[in-house]
């Protein structure tokens, strides 16, 4: 009798998943129409987009004007991007003299050229880059931006636009992080005087709105100084903003310090580590890693807070746009200005946010549950 039993020797090739589980249709069903509530939300979102998007695109792109010298040249009824085009350099450099603008470019090129490799993993020679960025770059930038050593002096009153925003943000960020760590450590110190001083500093700066502090720096301070002393307005603003940011940073870092289990401190002490080694080698690396989202959040907040300097008459990126739209040639272009400002601020803040995600992934050593 012939052996009719059949034993399959190789596995059957995988069948494609059913039609309803793949392709666009399945994706749509799973993500947009999975229940009556989601279907309703999807439909209303589509309706809203249908209502908003075409007029916006028409305004921003299809019937927009790109060229022209005044608002009156913008005749097609859409956005008047000509304003941004004509004023672009002013938005970037403020009133910085045209002939000296290469100095600003060079300064930021140096910062980004050395700063960005510092942030990327696996770049060799980071130690030297860090020394350059944190120790050598500040005086170089000062000479480049302000003048001296043969370069003509550009008064800080002429600084403005995106350049001023960047100066304010970079300096505050670079100063506030180390200062904030110091205050956070001080607040958790066992020495009563140090602790009291730190608590007072933090609570004082945190308890006052930034706008008040800026007013104090720009309006009240000159009245207390002897007549004739002219304390640079941008320097006053920088100091005030750095202190303000440091107070917030200290609280963020303190959150990280408190999250480290006591066992870590005790183990380190049992190993005979001194206070600074304990903090520098064991506690801070772990604590700072935990609070990266908080730190970046503070940075983003800070970057946007720089716009508040418009209340003290400094022309940062936003206020120089506002000033441009009050000129008689460009009256009526404020929407264009604000849309442009929103785009630029979004690019910077989104960039910082994305970098935070990369950083968190890189430093992730698995404390997550």
């Amino acid at each position: 009798m012939a052996d009719i039993s059949f034993v399959r020797t190789e596995s059957h090739p995988d069948l494609p998943p059913p039609k309803s589980e793949t392709g666009i249709l399945a994706w749509l069903r799973q993500n947009l129409f999975s229940g009556w509530l989601n279907t309703l939300l999807t439909l209303s979102a589509i309706y809203l987009l249908y209502k908003i998007l075409p007029p916006f695109l028409d305004w921003a792109i299809f019937s927009a004007d790109l060229s022209g010298k005044t608002y009156e040249d913008c005749t097609s009824g859409g956005a008047c991007w000509a304003m941004i085009r004509v004023r672009f350099d002013q938005f970037m450099y403020g009133f910085y003299p045209e002939a000296e603008r290469w100095r600003v470019n060079l300064g930021f090129l140096l910062l980004f050229g050395t700063g960005i490799p510092l942030l990327i993993e696996g770049v060799p020679g980071k130690k030297y880059l860090a020394i350059f960025v944190f120790l050598l770059f500040p005086p170089i930038a000062f000479v480049l931006f302000y003048g001296g050593l043969g370069l003509p002096v550009v008064d800080t009153a002429q600084w403005g636009g995106l350049m001023l925003t960047m100066v304010l943000a970079t300096v505050t960020i670079i100063v506030s992080l180390p200062l904030g760590i110091v205050f956070a450590l001080g607040r958790r110190s066992n020495m009563p005087i140090v602790r009291m001083v730190c608590i007072c500093f933090i609570e004082l700066w945190r308890g006052v709105p930034l706008i008040t502090v800026l007013f104090m720096g720009s309006v009240m301070l000159p009245l207390f100084l002897p007549p004739g002393t002219n304390f640079d307005k941008i320097l006053r603003t920088l100091i005030v903003m750095a202190f303000f940011a440091a107070a917030y940073m200290a609280e963020v870092v303190r959150g990280g310090l408190q999250a480290i289990p006591k066992g870590q401190f005790e183990a380190a002490q049992a190993m005979g580590l001194s206070y600074w080694k304990l903090m520098g080698l064991i506690v801070l690396p772990q604590a700072l890693k935990i609070v990266i989202p908080g730190i970046v959040n503070t940075f983003i907040g800070l970057f946007k807070d720089t716009t508040l300097v418009l209340v003290i008459g400094l022309f940062d990126f936003l206020s120089i746009i506002q000033a441009a739209t009050t000129h008689k040639n460009w009256l009526g272009t404020s929407t264009e200005g604000y849309v442009f400002a929103a785009c630029i601020y979004f690019i910077f803040c989104f960039g910082m946010s994305r970098y935070r995600i990369t950083l968190e992934r890189r430093l992730d050593t698995g404390h997550r549950n």
Partner: protein
């Protein structure tokens, strides 16, 4: 003992510094020495002060600074501008950060007397007005009972409005906004019947409405807003330079001297023109500036009328008629003492 010495030293130094500040005789000399005029202007007000495409400041108030620079240095460009917000302006003047404030500042009793400031005159007289749609058929602000009014928050406009309606026993509903752009958009969209602010502002905003001709500015002016340049108290010589700069601008228009004909007018038959232009007399010396200072003002900046037409007049987007900012001889408020 030691502490006492230190306290005494500190006190003496402070006193000396204060005296030095007070005895710091003339701003005019200081300005001449440093070679430029530090002028406080608005951070951005259409027609009055705004940076142009090249980053140079332009406007009606800015031209006052330029005129002072022309009087002192013979060139209108020796000015450094300090853009100031409304909250900073007086401190900047009191602390000596700026030499003169030309920032559409309303001349009031308290400011003149209490704040230690000296208003040197009014270079633009404004007043709060009302704008409505033509199809409402309203001819006077007194017919506005029960209207909804769009206003900017935190300004004297708000108080003037309340006063006006209360004194005429009328009611209104205020719709409050933060920025002029928002008010215009809301008014244009019909969210309120009336738009109120200074009449120069109304004119500027009206030109930006979708159909400017459908709107009308009512004749009532419910407040007095004499806007003028300001200097510090107790600086009479410096105040004179500022005041007579303003008068030179006004008088040159009255006498028909313009930037175009200033050179021909030097051979005029009118003795006042000759004194004004520095051909006769020693007015420059007496004022402490160069001879022919007023000639420099008119030649490089223009007379009052030219400045007005250039920045806010009917050919600009603001389209402001001269109104009360007209020579006294034509029924306006501009009146300068004689140059003799």
């Amino acid at each position: 003992m030691k502490i006492k010495t230190i306290i005494a030293a500190v006190a003496t130094t402070t006193a000396m510094l204060t005296i030095a500040g007070a005895a710091n005789a003339g701003i005019l000399d200081d300005v001449k020495k440093k070679g430029f005029l530090q002028c406080g202007v608005n951070t951005g007000l259409t027609g009055f002060s705004a940076p142009n495409d090249k980053g140079k400041w332009e406007g009606f108030d800015v031209d006052f600074c330029r005129a002072m620079s022309a009087a002192i240095f013979g060139s209108p460009d020796k000015v450094k501008y300090t853009p100031l917000t409304s909250k900073e302006r007086f401190t900047a003047l009191q602390s000596g950060e700026i030499d003169v404030l030309a920032r559409n500042t309303t001349w009031t009793f308290t400011r003149d007397v209490n704040l230690g400031l000296e208003f040197i005159g009014s270079n633009y007289t404004d007043g709060q007005g009302f704008m409505v749609r033509k199809n409402l058929g309203v001819k006077s602000a007194k017919e506005l009972d029960g209207a909804s009014v769009c206003i900017q928050t935190g300004t004297t406009t708000e108080l003037n409005l309340a006063d006006f309606f209360r004194s005429n026993s009328m009611k209104f509903k205020s719709v409050v906004f933060e920025k002029a752009d928002e008010i215009r958009a809301a008014y244009d969209a019909g969210r309120c019947d009336v738009y109120t602010t200074d009449r120069s502002g109304l004119a500027a905003q009206r030109s930006l409405l979708k159909k400017p001709d459908d709107h009308v500015v009512l004749p009532e002016v419910v407040s007095k807003e004499p806007l003028g340049p300001v200097v510090r108290h107790g600086q009479s010589e410096w105040g004179d330079v500022a005041r007579w700069t303003l008068f030179a601008l006004i008088v040159s228009e009255e006498l028909g001297v313009t930037s175009a004909n200033a050179d021909q007018m030097k051979s005029s038959k009118n003795p006042e023109v000759l004194r004004l232009l520095g051909v006769e007399g020693k007015m420059g010396e007496q004022l402490g500036v160069r001879q022919g200072w007023a000639y420099q003002i008119v030649k490089t900046v223009g007379n009052y009328g030219e400045v007005y037409e250039r920045h806010v007049g009917v050919n600009t987007p603001l389209k402001l008629e001269r109104g009360i900012n007209q020579q006294w001889s034509k029924g306006g408020l501009l009146y300068a003492p004689p140059f003799r």
